[in-house]
């Protein structure tokens, strides 16, 4: 009787011992070690909705990064409709020279000088909401941009020459953008332009517009852009048209080259939003290019 119990116990001990040993082995071989750490949910913020801070003429949802300076050189030729005498517009040139700077990752500032009507412009753009997925879900990016244009060219109207602030134009915009996929972005720009001085009663001091912009990546470094600003009716005289620009972005290491066609004259907000008269159908389209070059001024602290 006692012999069988001892044998049974011996057997039991051996079984228990072996099973603990086996259990340990199994744990190490089949368990994914990293899963022991547990995955903390993170928020992934959408980046690179557009390749630069402008779509063509107007603002894009992108900001210049903190501590980074972006040199902007914008060039516009003349209208195609000028014909062979004007070498299809190549004889004429208009320029904007600008410097943008990222104060923080959300706030950027920029100044520029336009040769068309000698306009000095300055703007601030603030990112209110960032599109994100993961722990924090935000379907859109939202920014607010405010721009001041000062027309410094001598005016034929003595009133304007006397009172400095009649030369000022203010543009307020909300930029609502969504990166739909890796290559496609859509942006809406409800815009209000306030003009201190207008030539006739038919021109309103406050002009409301709705802008729409789209970007489609064609390859890793080339994208096609569209930018259209629709002015609500009964605000501008009938000769005014809506600004439409279509072009390509080509990105290299530190530059973004934008090449496009646009029907607007100037490069400052007041001009392309409220004073465009070119008609695409008539060939009032000009070739333009923008060069954007970024320099890191303040390195990120590690």
């Amino acid at each position: 009787m006692s012999i069988s119990i001892t044998h049974y116990m011996k057997f039991l001990y051996i079984v228990i011992f072996i099973s603990t040993f086996l259990k340990v082995q199994a744990q190490s071989d089949t368990t994914d070690l990293l899963s022991l750490l547990g995955d903390e949910p993170t928020t992934e913020y959408t980046t690179a909705s557009f390749k630069t801070s402008r779509v063509v003429n107007g603002q894009s949802i992108e900001n210049t990064a903190k501590g980074v300076m972006d040199i902007k050189i914008n060039h516009r030729f003349g209208f195609f409709s000028g014909g062979s005498y004007e070498l299809f517009g190549l004889d004429q040139a208009m320029i904007r020279l600008g410097i943008d700077y990222g104060i923080t990752d959300r706030l950027m500032v920029g100044i520029g000088r336009n040769s068309y009507e000698k306009v000095v412009d300055g703007f601030l753009k603030y990112k209110i909401l960032r599109q994100s997925t993961g722990k924090r879900n935000m379907p859109i990016s939202l920014s607010y941009a405010v721009d001041i244009d000062m027309k410094t060219i001598n005016s034929s109207n003595p009133e304007v020459n006397k009172r400095f602030w009649l030369r000022a134009y203010y543009t307020n915009q909300l930029l609502i953008a969504r990166k739909l996929s890796a290559g496609t972005t859509l942006q809406l720009m409800p815009t209000l332009v306030h003009r201190n001085y207008v030539a006739t009663i038919a021109e309103k001091n406050d002009v409301y517009l709705m802008g729409i912009a789209a970007r489609q990546k064609l390859s890793k470094r080339i994208a096609i852009n569209l930018e259209y600003y629709y002015a609500l009716p009964n605000q501008l005289t009938s000769d005014k048209t809506n600004s439409l620009a279509i072009g390509f972005d080509i990105e290299t290491g530190g530059h973004v080259f934008q090449v496009f066609f646009v029907n607007s004259n100037g490069t400052d907000h007041r001009s392309f939003l409220t004073e465009t008269t070119g008609k695409w159908g008539n060939g009032d389209v000009r070739l333009g290019f923008n060069i954007s070059r970024v320099f890191t001024i303040v390195k990120p602290r590690e």
């Binding site: 603990t20 744990q27 750490l37 980046t47 890793k220 290491g253 970024v294 390195k299």
Partner: protein, 182 residues
């Protein structure tokens, strides 16, 4: 005698062997793909690592978006064009210490280890092998290793326009402070 042996065996099963695991969630990984024309260096300080001291199994993962560069645009291009981090968010390693018997995790000291395993970058997995230094201090292990990664091996394309600015292989340096998992 037999009974004593049985009792000893029984007692030993009570102390069932717990696998000794070490981990970190703030591992430091830096890589350098600089050329004479351009300084290209990215650093991450949130790499996750788990080491099973009993089997020598080692696993590591790092979020591509956690690499910080001096130039914001370079960081954007790294994620958007080269690593496609929205599609492939992590790089990972799964392998083991080949010479586990040469390492005594219970005894303080410097140990040279050989680590082999599968390295997955940009969705491509390749077998790799490297030497690593392990410094054991109580319940802490300072692990350090340096190895090279040939970009082409992991289908990381360098466009013709910038091929002189980016080195064809990146030098990767891993620094971890592993602590015993409770």
């Amino acid at each position: 005698m037999k009974n004593t042996l049985m009792i000893l065996l029984f007692i030993s099963t009570c102390f069932s062997v717990q696998a000794q695991k070490y981990f970190t969630k703030s591992g430091n990984i830096s890589f350098n793909a600089s050329s004479p024309l351009e300084k290209i260096q990215g650093v991450s300080s949130t790499a996750s690592t788990v080491l099973d001291a009993t089997t020598g199994n080692l696993e590591m993962a790092v979020l591509i978006k956690s690499f910080i560069f001096e130039k914001a645009l370079m960081q954007e291009h790294f994620n958007e064009n080269y690593m496609e981090s929205t599609k492939i968010p992590k790089a990972s390693f799964k392998g083991k210490i080949e010479n586990l018997k040469d390492v005594n995790f219970a005894k303080d000291g410097m140990y040279k280890t050989k680590i082999t395993g599968d390295l997955t970058i940009h969705g491509v997995t390749k077998a790799v092998s490297t030497m690593a230094d392990f410094k054991v201090t109580g319940a802490k292990i300072d692990a350090k290793t340096v190895f090279n990664v040939v970009l082409e091996d992991y289908k990381i394309d360098i466009p013709g326009l910038v091929k002189d600015k980016i080195s064809k292989s990146a030098k990767v340096e891993v620094n971890l402070v592993l602590e015993k998992m409770k």
